[in-house]
Symmetry: C2
Subunit: 661 residues, 2 copies
């Protein structure tokens, strides 16, 4: 018999070979994606510390229940701050540490306090908050109330006699919810509650700092203040006439005088700034998440062989099938775009936040719309991309050991938190309509970058670009198409006097946002020569162009519907989308030899990916085997279920079978 | 102060009101969906037994780890067969019992044995298998091999001297995988292995029955046969020259003589019949899963109030927003279609399976293609629909208490198991191309119902239907559009001499399958008057029409691209899809008062749905609260993590904060 071929030995050979085909300098591109060599080295150092610390080992995680996960999470939090002290990490180092972890640690209330507390309150608490001398949670969502904060039921009634606020939860639905395990961890909370002035006037939601647990014995204390003296043990607190001192109101922008007069804030939307901050971070985060999906799926498809026999006599590497690589190479493109776009955006929000503090409000509305639309776009496409990655990997993609199921489950709520996507769509469209209705030919110069797509409607001689042989090699062509699509969809809603069709807002919001992103991608392409050497710039330019083309592909219905994409009015026997689709296929094929290099450039370690299928060395089957050995069920041959359940089942069955013979 | 409005009290009021607006007789429609009143009563009785048995309680499930879930699953399996004996349930009753459970109990090897074992082997084992006197698993997938069974590495070498087969796993990648917890439960397995004849000839994969554990002590025995005498404890067995008697080959259709000659089967594809059976069941199962998503999301949207203030002075019920109900009412439509379509299909496969046994092969190829395409369609749309349902419910949709996350996670591997979707697409297209290439005008009468859409290409005078005012009220119009789309996409691939664009196969496969389903929906509509009274028939007709219109909507790119949907070649300022989208919106609005009735008609109990948000009485907030009380973390005030992790963290932080002041 012929010598047995061992597929698991082939894995590393295939990975080495694929790694050697990349023409780019991976280090250069890695530094580009990681905001420079210095920041990359900091990330590398921090990952080195975390990944070798036994507490941060992930191998038992898939087998743990909620309670075990919680205990592990608390141990990790403590160790993280211990490491901070040991290694003298700065606050920025801690931000990096948190960004490379995938432990779903609870969000702190730190940004809210920093932005909205008065200097007096800050001087008392900020050092404690920053050093975890107290632990905080953010109590906004209620059991019956999410998106519409104006309808929160919890009240904070000001009592001028004692200069206190009385926090009260009048109903079951006013129970604070979605604060997760923090109900077990937090000593303090920032609570959203309707401010009620003496006389009963409701001023809408405001923020208050409230102590939840004693620092001595760590017992729930908030309910002791109540008249009835009841105590409840729950992760979802309800407040029964709990009193807090007046100074605990986060009143940097809106306060109450001692006698109970409302001090008008300089502007009503000030409290959005925390939300804006989170949303802008979501773009970068989505980029890095998609990057993980891209890395794992590209690596696995490089070493997985399945189906037809290739020229080397073995089954073909699955990445060589166009129906597969045309699905996963575009993930690289979206990851590259979101990482770079998000970084620029976070910088804008930082600038804005500082502007805010000194009262500069000029860009708030524009930024709000932009981050709303972007939040919808990156959460929708990010969720899709992680699922695409997972499905590209066959059965093993659905194993806990692929790592992608966890990424997906952790990310999918992004469609809802920090603003429900369908609610945000409405905001984007409202703002676009307002700009549209104010359009006039003289206003073109004053259109902001978020509204620039509307300029096409002003010039009567302007026309959408015509498709020619070179069209799909030109970023400008795709950008113009996407801008015209946005302009027509907004105009469509504006011109509709009867009810709009139900998907109109979603379509228009998506189009407006994609037109904005396309414009920014155009800028990124222009900036490439300054950021990278020519070879790397040329490859990343293709990555960006691919982003634009797949975005056009995903908008084909709108493009056809408004006549922006050439289709015959007559029945025709050939597929009008073929040219675009072949252009995408060609770009993907072009990028195929670079795929491992482009994904290596994200710089993920095996610890960060926590995926047997995404193993850097390609030895996926050995990694799967090793992970399965961690399964607690494998610790014994005969399971304890044998005596309790399996044996009775077998004996009953054998008795019945005998009776039938 | 005004009396406090309590939203949780409003829930039941809203649900009662919505229930009373349905004009249909829910009992009639429920019997229709449940295959008649008699079968409904059996389901009702079985659900009654299971849901009141403490072992089948689901309240602790979200908090369990894998090991705890396994132990619970084994206890449930044992109890299920105990109940079978107590209540004298038939095999069909057991099928119903399994279908109403959502416990992910392991798939048995029973169908494979029934279909492929010889009468001799059956007489020895079938009573034991049916009564669980032995427990089986199906060992097909290997660590390195899934879709392509011809490349499985495990061998079964025939040894004429001893009349045995020697089962061997030559490599790491040949380890049998994806047999789940059955490695801990099964006493026997049916294994797929390459049959090697004396002289070394490889006959490809065949099936063998192999004992894995002793019935006395339940210890792994398969590896004792090996020369080395090693034993391994693992859920993923590898076989080291394990010998089994010749009679253990499942050789109803292909066998080996005593001397080692291969006995040619009557036809090579015989072993597909088990796969076909599973796939046909998937259509019905997908229908019932979507039905759960529809029921939960429609009920929650009925009682959830959020956003604008409505005429009753309260926030509007979310189901009243077109952007929301236009997303979830179509789920009802897909559920109704798949349940009825799947039932018809399973009947066809049953007929086929009986035909198979007596050698009737005429319909095998046709049925194979049909079930391949349908498997792709129902898994893809089912996964999407569950996700749509979950996202329609705001933050609570992502809670374990919504129930939909579990449904989604259990169903999403359906995109891969029983045939990877992208591989199946290729099969569908290959069969369609074969029929296309054999087309001639004289052959129209012989086109099977799976290929009937191709008739449009034969008649030179035939033309696609023209859009008029009545178009979207006519099922025929949508059906014709979908047929023409399929015909053009298949023709496009046939006429492409260079490489097809990478998504071509997927697009064509989807179009061919949707054309087939559309045709069947046309038949279902025709049959409604015989199946239901006029009022109910009229409402269900709208449900079916909605299915057709949303299918057209999802195929718009193809319809535009081939000029089947009217769009101007010139740039135009109005949305060409508006008419279709408004027709869908109108249908959804029409069906809105029936939505609770149509979903009640599925007949799910609260135990089956296991969703706080889908509570029959609408009291969702009380149900959420009750579920949260089951969280083990809520059993104590101060978590055990306090001493180990939280206290050290707080003390360190307080020390550092003090140092900074």
């Amino acid at each position: 018999m012929s010598r047995v071929h061992d597929p698991s030995k082939q894995n590393a050979v295939d990975m080495d070979k694929a790694r050697s085909t990349a023409s780019i300098n991976v280090v250069d591109v890695r530094n580009f994606l990681n905001d420079g060599a210095a920041r990359w080295r900091r990330r590398e150092g921090i990952v080195g510390v975390l990944s070798t610390d036994p507490l941060f080992d992930k191998s038992k995680r898939p087998f743990q229940n909620r309670q075990q996960q919680f205990l592990r999470g608390e141990a990790i939090s403590n160790r993280l701050y211990e490491l901070k002290e040991i290694h003298k990490w700065t606050q920025e180092d801690m931000t990096i540490a948190l960004s490379v972890m995938d432990e779903g640690l609870a969000i702190s209330f730190e940004p809210v306090i920093d932005l909205q507390a008065t200097p007096d309150l800050l001087s008392k608490y900020s050092a404690l908050v920053a050093n975890k001398g107290i632990l905080g949670c953010y109590l906004q969502t209620e059991l019956g109330h999410g998106s519409n904060v104006n309808k929160l039921e919890t009240t904070a009634t000001y009592l001028p006699q004692t200069q206190e606020f009385e926090i009260h939860s009048p109903t079951l639905t006013s129970t604070k919810w979605w604060i997760g395990a923090l109900g077990k961890t937090a000593t303090h909370g920032v609570i959203q509650a309707k401010l009620i002035l003496p006389g009963g006037k409701d001023m809408g939601p405001h923020l208050f700092l409230i102590q939840l647990r004693s620092l001595g014995e760590f017992r729930l204390i908030v309910l002791r203040h109540s008249a009835a003296g009841r105590q409840r043990t729950t992760v979802s607190p309800r407040f029964d006439h709990v009193r807090i001192p007046k100074e605990n109101m986060l009143s940097k922008f809106a306060g109450v005088t001692d006698s109970g007069e409302y001090v008008t804030p300089p502007h009503a939307k000030m409290s959005f700034s925390g939300l804006l901050y989170f949303r802008s971070k979501m773009v970068t985060n989505a980029g890095w998440l998609i990057a993980k999906g891209a890395t794992v799926s590209i690596r696995y498809a490089t070493v997985r062989r399945q189906g037809e026999i290739g020229p080397d006599g073995l089954e073909r590497q699955t990445i060589s099938y166009p129906s597969l690589h045309a699905r996963i190479i575009p993930l690289l493109a979206r990851a590259y775009v979101y990482i770079e776009l998000g970084r620029a955006l976070t910088k804008r929000v930082d600038d804005l936040a500082h502007g805010l503090s000194s009262g500069d409000m000029s860009q708030l509305a524009e930024m709000h719309v932009m981050t709303s639309g972007l939040k919808v776009l990156v959460s929708t496409t990010g969720i899709q991309d992680l699922e695409t990655a997972r499905r590209s990997m066959g059965g093993h993609g659905f194993s806990a050991f692929s790592g992608l199921g966890k990424l997906y489950a952790d990310f999918v709520p992004a469609a809802t938190y920090e603003g429900e996507n369908f609610v945000l769509d409405q905001q984007v469209v409202r703002a676009a309509l307002k700009t549209f209705r104010g359009l006039s030919p003289t206003k073109v110069p004053s259109l902001s970058i978020t509204s620039l797509y509307l300029r096409h409607l002003l010039d009567k001689d302007s026309a959408p670009p015509s498709l020619d042989d070179q069209a799909w090699t030109q970023p400008t062509f795709a950008i113009l198409l996407l801008e015209w699509r946005a302009a027509f969809l907004v105009q469509e809603i504006a011109n509709t006097t009867s009810a709009p069709e139900p998907t109109a807002a979603h379509r228009a919001s998506r189009a407006v946002t994609e037109a904005f992103v396309a414009g920014r991608v155009g800028e990124l392409i222009t900036g490439l020569d300054a950021a990278l050497k020519s070879r790397e710039a040329a490859v990343v330019r293709k990555v960006y162009l691919l982003y634009l083309l797949v975005t056009v592909e995903s908008g084909l219905v709108d493009l056809f519907s408004f006549g922006l994409f050439p289709a015959s009015r007559e029945m025709q026997s050939r597929d009008a989308t073929r040219g675009l689709r072949l252009a995408i296929a060609d770009l993907c094929k072009d990028l195929l030899p670079e795929a491992i290099g482009l994904s290596d450039a994200f710089g993920f370690t095996d610890w960060e990916l926590d995926s047997a299928l995404g193993a850097y060395d390609g030895k996926v089957y050995e990694a799967l085997w090793a992970k399965a050995q961690q399964e607690p069920l494998n610790e014994t041959d005969v399971t304890e279920a044998y005596q309790t359940s399996i044996r009775p089942l077998l004996l009953r069955g054998q008795k019945l079978a005998k009776a039938k013979l």
